[in-house]
């Protein structure tokens, strides 16, 4: 399709401009985001931070070519899941193919065509996130695609630190293993579904960004409270729990 091709080329031009310092223009949403984290205090109790647990659905796993087609997120305040504060949005990709990934996600090409493009969704999402810490399962992948979109559409990186529940789960299982000499489960599965079953969490429908975000939020809540008999209380403990915290955009 002609429009798609044009859109693609225009997108490429933006990213080229990004490389030239003189042309860099920062989107107001991103400027606000940076402002929020200028004096980020890492020393507080976990209950004093807000968390936004999120998940993205992608057209595929090719880091260079693939794109985000939906974002689902839920906020946690005082380490409780605020079910009424959710974010759920489809994103129109540059290239709409009824490929395997969209089938898995049960998102139809029509839904995607009707959806807003990333440059409209991303500022809303950043607004929703505010100064919260981001939480996701295998969050590195989500952060990569989010970061890629932020660079392209907003002119820079997002400042919110992120927490990976997968690495937290690994830390938890390893610690539990050390506590029960030898009696530990050798299965090395860190898939969200299997972990949710293993920990007997209430279940949500998989492959929907919002439902997966909720599932991840339950997992996160479970892990931080089960860790070390008494739970994780500070951000520093959370970092040490499996070195699961990466302060992206701050290095």
């Amino acid at each position: 399709m002609l429009s798609c091709a044009l859109f693609f080329r225009w997108g490429k031009m933006v990213s080229l401009r990004d490389l030239l310092p003189g042309f860099r223009k920062v989107h107001p949403a991103l400027a606000k985001n940076r402002e929020l984290f200028k004096d980020f205090n890492q020393g507080r109790l976990l209950t004093e931070y807000q968390f936004v647990v999120f998940d993205t659905e992608l057209t595929g796993l090719n880091r260079r070519k693939d794109e985000i087609i939906s974002i689902g997120a839920v906020r946690m305040v005082n380490l409780q899941i605020e079910l009424s504060q959710t974010f759920h949005c489809y994103v129109r990709p540059r290239d709409i193919n009824p490929n395997a990934a969209t089938l898995v996600h049960r998102i139809t090409p029509e839904q995607l065509r009707a959806a807003p493009p990333m440059e409209e969704v991303l500022p809303d999402f950043l607004e929703f996130c505010g100064d919260a810490l981001l939480v996701g399962h295998f969050v590195g992948i989500d952060m990569h695609f989010l970061g890629k979109a932020a660079r392209k559409h907003l002119g820079g990186m997002i400042s919110n630190p992120s927490v990976d529940t997968m690495r937290l789960a690994r830390g938890y299982k390893e610690a539990r293993c050390r506590d029960h000499f030898g009696g530990c489960d050798q299965s090395e599965s860190y898939n969200l579904d299997l972990l949710s079953d293993e920990f007997n969490l209430p279940r949500f429908k998989p492959h929907d960004a919002l439902e997966d975000a909720l599932q991840t939020a339950y997992l996160f809540l479970f892990l931080i409270k089960k860790f070390k008999h008494g739970g994780i209380r500070t951000l520093k403990e959370l970092y040490l729990a499996g070195r699961i915290l990466s302060l992206m955009g701050r290095g």
Binding site: L83, S84, T86, C89, A115, V121, D124, P202, K226, G231
Partner: protein
């Protein structure tokens, strides 16, 4: 704007709330609004959520996954377990409603996820939603048998679709039970009142003195009160002075819904039912409300009002509906079983009095005995008949023959009627129609003397249910005389109790069942558990042996255990634990049978552990462990070998 931020509450909360009481009664809009305020929190196993008298309660906690126990700790650190609560249960309602701190200690017995409803949102529902406060405040103690029925009726549960259908499919003509009662317009007010008293009815039709098919009016209880007694009218005045005429009528082919509509729009609650120009009866709003038959009290009254045995047939079929509602309202199994026996007793009483009317008075006084689970007041939905007749010793041959003839006919008919009411025959023929179990007092005493004096272990097993007899109808003194005899015999020779105790100890608690179940977690091993013989019977047998030993006349298992504790034969702690364990199993069985009935399956006692939640499994396992403690008590009383 593209993103739907801060908008719809996730379906998960709405879905959850719409399955639990009393949220399931809320309008969809209100439900969604409530769901918007809900948060999720997680409490690892062992978390102390409330400490009685200390914790400020800011949320109503609804358990999404996991389970908690509630208990009280007294000044000396003694802990009394109150309750286990699992998925769908709530925590913290009472302190919020009463504005107090936590009233119980609450601790998580499993990793537990809760939905948290903020205090203010909950209080708002309590204030604005009819039935909400009652739901949380109502207690199911003795009240249930006394006064709470009207409230129950108002506080209706989730209506099943077919209950409302009933209103649309039943015709008025189908629900009239008796021939129309009427009196001439010239009769005195007092005669009319006498007729109403005799027929036990609340209204009477008035006919033309010259043509009794010509209905000219109607009087009701209210007329007698307002127009006669309150107004000081002479009782000898003709009834026509106080009647309402002409009578509002409804066609017998009208649906009950139409009749109800007519009553509601006219404010007239007694309608004469007309078929082919003739009045064939009267229908009242009460009759129609009964179709929805969910109030135990209204059913109870309705049974008492029946003038024909046939009229009782459909009424006993309504008992499962009543029980279903009680379960959904959170009634405890012990109370439900009492309710079931109360209703069954009422049916029996009505049936036998009507049968006496039909056959004439008995030649000698008698008592209809109930045995087994009926005798223990522990019936569930499916109750085989276990009954017998004991009658006073006849004074001569002739009276003996008369008694034998009368009670044999009486028993035959009674048992047929009971079958028609939905109580299946006893496969072992332990019924009053079996001549062996329809005998005078002296023969019954001989039976018990023999069972006790020269016990044959085989035979003893077959007659254990006789030891749980209680009077069902008739001359109670006869049953008491037999009970006294049993007590005296037992004092002299206890050997038969040893047989009963051994039998009781031979049935091991099915703990291994859980081990194999855990091993075969996801396998094909769908072995089921017979909750009656493996779970409940050990408690029943234990209570029976000890009750007989100590001459306790109660027959109900929980009541027996209670008296045993009161008299110091078992510890208070064992009583409380055994009570909880027994009641929990009864509850599981009731719920299991209820769901079978709702699926149209014949109810049984086989529980599939795969259907149980983790909490239920845990609690069931703990209940079985109590059996070992009961056996230890028996071993110390009846040493083996």
């Amino acid at each position: 704007m593209a993103a739907d931020i801060h908008s719809v509450a996730p379906e998960v909360v709405v879905e959850f709330l719409s399955t639990i009481m009393p949220f399931n009664e809320l309008d969809t809009d209100v439900l969604h609004e409530v769901a918007r305020h809900v948060r999720v929190d997680f409490f690892p196993k062992g978390t102390r959520l409330f400490t009685a008298g200390e914790t400020e309660v800011n949320f109503l906690y609804l358990i999404q996954r996991g389970g908690v126990k509630s208990f009280l700790t007294d000044d000396e650190g003694e802990v009394t377990l109150k309750d286990y609560r699992g998925e769908g249960s709530y925590i913290g309602a009472l302190p919020i409603i009463r504005g107090t701190r936590a009233n119980l200690d609450i601790e998580m017995v499993e990793d537990t996820f809760c939905f948290l409803l903020p205090r203010d949102v909950f209080l708002d529902l309590i204030n604005k939603q009819p039935g909400f406060a009652q739901f949380y405040l109502k207690s199911f103690s003795e009240k249930i048998v006394n006064t709470a029925y009207t409230e129950l009726r108002r506080h209706r549960m989730t209506r099943r679709g077919d209950e409302e259908m009933y209103l649309f499919t039943m015709q008025v003509g189908d629900i009239i039970k008796a021939v129309p009662r009427k009196i001439a317009a010239t009769a005195s007010i007092q005669d009319a009142a006498r007729a109403m008293a005799e027929y036990r009815i609340g209204s009477l039709l008035i006919h033309d003195p010259n043509d009794d098919e010509q209905i000219v009016g109607i009087i009701t209880d209210r007329d007698l009160r307002n127009k006669v007694i309150a107004a000081g009218l002479d009782y000898q005045e003709p009834v026509s002075r106080i009647m309402t005429g002409p009578v509002a009528t409804v066609l017998s082919k009208s649906t009950c819904f139409d009749a109800l509509l007519k009553m509601m729009t006219t404010g007239i609650h007694h309608l004469a039912v007309e078929r082919k120009g003739r009045i064939i009866g009267v229908v009242t709003s009460h009759d129609i409300m009964l179709l929805q038959g969910t109030s135990p009290y209204s059913l109870f009254k309705e049974i008492g009002k029946q003038r024909t045995i046939q009229g009782l047939y459909p009424l006993s079929q309504k008992i499962p509906d009543i029980i279903r509602n009680l379960i959904k309202e959170g009634a405890k199994a012990g109370n439900i079983a009492r309710m079931i026996s109360l209703l069954n007793d009422q049916i029996l009483e009505r049936l036998l009095s009507l049968l006496e009317d039909e056959l004439g008075p008995p030649p000698v006084p008698y008592c209809w005995l109930l045995m087994g689970s009926e005798g223990r007041r522990e019936q569930t939905f499916k109750t085989d008949q276990d009954n017998a007749i004991i009658y006073a010793d006849p004074k001569d041959e002739q009276e003996a023959q008369a008694a034998s003839d009368y009670f044999s006919t009486f028993a035959d008919k009674a048992i047929d009627h009971l079958v028609n009411c939905g109580y299946p025959l006893c496969p072992g023929e332990i019924m009053a129609r079996n001549p062996r179990w329809c005998q005078p007092v002296s023969v019954w005493k001989d039976y018990f003397s023999r069972w006790i004096g020269t016990p044959d272990p085989e035979e003893l097993l077959n007659v254990t249910i006789f030891f749980d007899f209680r009077p069902g109808f008739g001359k109670t003194a006869l049953a008491e005389e037999l009970r006294k005899h049993l007590r005296e015999q037992t004092k002299r020779q206890e050997i038969y109790l040893l047989h009963l105790a051994r039998e009781c100890m031979a049935v091991k608690a099915p703990l291994s069942f859980f081990k194999s179940f855990i091993v075969n977690k996801d396998g094909e091993h769908r072995n089921k558990l017979d909750l009656k013989t493996r779970g409940l019977t050990p408690f029943v047998n234990f209570a029976r042996v000890l009750a007989l030993k100590y001459g306790i006349k109660e027959t109900n298992t929980l009541a027996r255990l209670h008296v045993l504790a009161e008299e110091g034969h078992i510890s208070e702690e064992l009583w409380a634990t055994a009570h909880d364990a027994y009641e929990l199993q009864m509850q599981l069985r009731l719920i299991h049978q209820l769901s079978q009935i709702e699926e149209g399956i014949l109810p049984d006692n086989y529980i599939d552990p795969a259907q149980l939640s983790d909490l239920e499994k845990k609690m069931l396992k703990e209940s079985f462990e109590v059996v070992e403690r009961l056996h230890a008590v028996l071993r110390s009383l009846f040493p083996v070998g």
